[in-house]
Amino acid sequence: MLDIRGITKRYGTRQVLTDVSFTVGNGRMTGFVGANGAGKTTTMRIILGVLTADAGTVLIDGAPVTASDRRRFGYMPEERGLYPKMKVAEQLIYLARLHGLTPHAALRNTTDLLERLGLTDRSNALVESLSLGNQQRAQIAAALVHDPEFLVLDEPFSGLDPIAVEVVMGVLAEYAAGGAPVLFSSHQLDIVERLCDDLVIIGDGEIRAQGARETLRDEYSSPRFEIRTHGDASWIRDLPGIRIVDLTLDAAGGHVVFEAETDAASQLVLQQAIARGPVSAFNHQRPSLASIFKEVVQ
C-alpha cells in the first residue's frame, strides 16, 4: 500500500502542492486526474524521490519510503526518455540490471515484455529509429522490466494507438490483479473511467476528491432517473415527489428523465409503469467521470 501524506511543495514563491494526501491500495488501479499544471507530475516525482518535498511523507505499508525502496517502483516519467542511440533490448536490460536483476533475469524479462508489447521484431533497433508509438511501448517496457512492486505512470496512454491502449491496459490490469498498487495519470477520462478502481482528483495543487470510483459517482450523482416505456408516460408528472426534467414521446414509446425526492418515489414510478405496460429501461443516471471532474475542479 502506498500512502501519500501531507505533501507540500513550493517552487520559489509558487505553491505547487498543498497538503496532498491520498492512498493507493494494493491491487487498486488508481487514476490520478487533474488539469495541466495541477500538480500530478510533481506529486509523482516526489513519490519516486526524483524531487524532494518541502513537507510530508510517502509511506510504503506504513513505513517511510527509502532510497532503496524506490527501485521497487516502476516509473514512467511524463517526459519520455530513453537513450536514443541504444538498442531497445539492450536498454531494457541495462535498466533492469540497474534495478538489481541478474543478467539472466534481465534478459528473460526483456524478452517477455517485448513479446507482450509487440516489439520483438524491433528489439535490435535503435530507440531513435522507432515510431513514436513504438517508443511509447518501449517506455512502458522500461517501467515494467524490473518486476516492480508499485507502478507510478505519468500519462501512460498518451500517444498510443487504440490497439496499443488495449495492450497496455491489459498489462496494467494484470499488474493490479497481482496485488501491486498502480497509480496512473491520464487526460483521457474515458480510459480512466473504464480502467480505474479508485480515483484521485487534483486541482491547483490540492486534492479535490478521492475514493473508489463507484463511491465517487454515487456521491456526486443527483437523484436523477431515466425510464423508457412503450406507451405515453406523461402520467409520471402527476406522481408525488417527482420533477420531470425531460419528457418525449415517439414511435418507440415514452422516454422520461425525472428527479425523485426519495428512493421510494422513484420506485413508485417504476411500479406504476410496469402496471401500465412493458418497461424497456429504468436506470439511475449517474454522472460520468468527466462531469464529476468538471464539478470538483471548478
Partner: protein, 388 residues
C-alpha cells in the same frame, strides 16, 4: 554474485507471495558499487561503439608511434663508420669502439678499400719502430675528422653540474606531455559532458534518478570515462616506450620512462578532477548546443598547462609552480622529473594536493549535478546549482 541474487530472489518471492504481491518476482538491490560499475560499463561500451571515438583514438596512437619512430630515425647515430685495419692497428682501433673494422693483410689492400669507398679510412701501423699505439691514418682526399678525433687522446674532463638534456629534446618531451594531456582531457571531457546532457535532454535521467542515487550516476560516468582516458594514456605510454626500445633509443627511454610513468599516475587523478568539472558544468544546460559554452571555463583550465609547458619548459620557477597546481601538475611534475629537478618527495606532495583537490571538486561537482539535472530550459545559475 549472480547466483546469490537468484537464490535470495526466489526465497523472498515465496515470502512475498504470502504477503500480497502474489506471483511477483523480487530482486535484491544492487550495491552502490554495482550501480556505479553498471553505469561505467555502459559509458565504456557506448564509447567503444562510437566510430568517431575509435578513429580519433587510432589517429592519436598513430601520431605517437610515428613521432617516436621518426625521432628515432632522425636522431639515430648513423651506422658506425667502417675503417680498414692492418695488423696491430686493429687493437688500437677496437679500443675506441667507434668503428666497424675490416681487417686486411696489407697496406695496399687497405688503400684499395679506401679508394673504392668501402671504408672511410684505413688505419695502419706507423712506419718505423714506434710504440704499439703509433698508427697512420690513410684517407682518400679529405682528413676523416671523426676517425682522427676518436683516435686522439683527450684530456680528462670533470663537470661540476650535471648537464641538462639538450634543449630540443626537452621541447619535444614538453610538447609530448602537453599535447597528450590536452588531447585526452578534451576528448574524454567533452564526451562526458555530452553524455550528461544527452541524459538530461532525453529525460532518461529521470528514470535513472528514480533508480540509483545521483552520486552513483555521476561516479559511474566519471569512472567509465576516466578508465577510457587512462587506458588511452597507458596505451600511448606503452607504444611510445616500445617504439623507443625497438628503434634503439634505450638511453632516451631510460631518461623519459620514469616521467611517463608519473605522467600516467598524475593523469589518472587529474582526469577524474576534470571529468567531475565537465560533468557538473554540462549538467547546468539542457541542450547539446549549449555544452560548448557551459564547459568553456574547464576547457581553459585544460589548455593553460599546455601553453605554459610549451613556452616555459626551460623556466624552472614556472615549472615548479605548475607542478603543484592541481590542474597543471599532470604536465608540470612529469616534466620536472624528466629534467631531474624534482626532489624525490615532491611528486608525492603534489599528488596529495591533487587528490585533495579532486575530492573537493567531486563533492562540489556532485552538488551542482544533483541540483541541475531536473532543471530544464535556461542555464542554471552557478549560485543556485551550488546551494544545498
Amino acid at each position: 554474485m549472480t547466483d546469490k541474487h537468484t537464490n535470495t530472489g526466489s526465497i523472498s518471492t515465496e515470502l512475498h507471495a504470502s504477503a500480497h504481491h502474489v506471483g511477483r518476482r523480487v530482486h535484491t538491490a544492487p550495491t552502490v558499487g554495482q550501480s556505479v560499475w553498471l553505469v561505467a560499463c555502459r559509458e565504456i561500451i557506448v564509447r567503444l561503439r562510437s566510430k568517431a571515438f575509435l578513429i580519433s583514438t587510432g589517429i592519436l596512437l598513430l601520431i605517437s608511434v610515428a613521432s617516436v619512430i621518426v625521432g628515432g630515425i632522425a636522431g639515430q647515430n648513423a651506422t658506425l663508420p667502417q675503417v680498414a685495419v692492418v695488423g696491430n692497428a686493429a687493437m688500437v682501433v677496437e679500443q675506441t669502439q667507434a668503428f666497424d673494422t675490416i681487417s686486411v693483410d696489407t697496406q695496399a689492400a687497405a688503400e684499395a678499400l679506401v679508394r673504392d669507398g668501402t671504408v672511410t679510412a684505413a688505419v695502419v701501423p706507423a712506419e718505423g719502430e714506434g710504440s704499439l699505439l703509433d698508427v697512420t691514418v690513410i684517407a682518400l682526399d679529405t682528413p676523416p675528422t671523426a676517425v682522427l678525433t676518436a683516435l686522439s687522446v683527450s684530456p680528462a674532463l670533470t663537470l661540476l653540474e650535471q648537464g641538462a638534456p639538450n634543449g630540443g629534446l626537452v621541447y619535444l618531451v614538453a610538447i609530448g606531455f602537453g599535447l597528450v594531456f590536452l588531447m585526452s582531457a578534451v576528448t574524454f571531457g567533452s564526451t562526458i559532458a555530452q553524455s550528461v546532457v544527452e541524459e538530461k535532454q532525453t529525460r532518461v535521467v529521470e528514470i535513472l534518478m528514480s533508480t540509483i542515487s545521483v552520486r552513483a550516476l555521476l561516479a559511474g560516468k566519471v569512472l567509465g570515462n576516466s578508465i577510457m582516458a587512462f587506458g588511452q594514456i597507458v596505451a600511448i605510454g606503452l607504444l611510445v616506450s616500445l617504439g623507443m626500445a625497438v628503434t634503439g633509443q634505450q638511453t632516451l627511454l631510460a631518461d623519459v620512462g620514469p616521467a611517463i610513468v608519473w605522467f600516467a599516475v598524475f593523469f589518472a587523478f587529474g582526469f577524474v578532477l576534470l571529468a567531475a568539472l565537465y560533468a557538473a558544468t554540462a549538467s547546468m544546460v539542457s541542450r547539446q548546443e549549449d555544452v560548448g559554452s557551459a564547459t568553456a571555463p574547464v576547457m581553459v583550465l585544460v589548455m593553460i598547462p599546455y601553453f605554459l609547458v610549451i613556452f616555459f619548459n626551460d623556466n624552472p620557477a614556472v615549472l615548479a609552480v605548475m607542478s603543484y597546481i592541481p590542474f597543471s601538475a599532470p604536465v608540470g611534475m612529469p616534466m620536472r622529473i624528466f629534467l631531474d629537478s624534482a626532489l624525490w618527495w615532491e611528486p608525492l606532495v603534489s599528488l596529495a594536493i591533487l587528490l585533495a583537490a579532486t575530492g573537493i571538486v567531486i563533492l562540489l561537482g556532485a552538488r551542482i549535478y544533483a541540483n541541475s539535472l531536473l532543471r530544464m530550459g535556461a542555464r542554471v545559475p552557478l549560485r543556485e546549482a551550488l546551494k544545498r
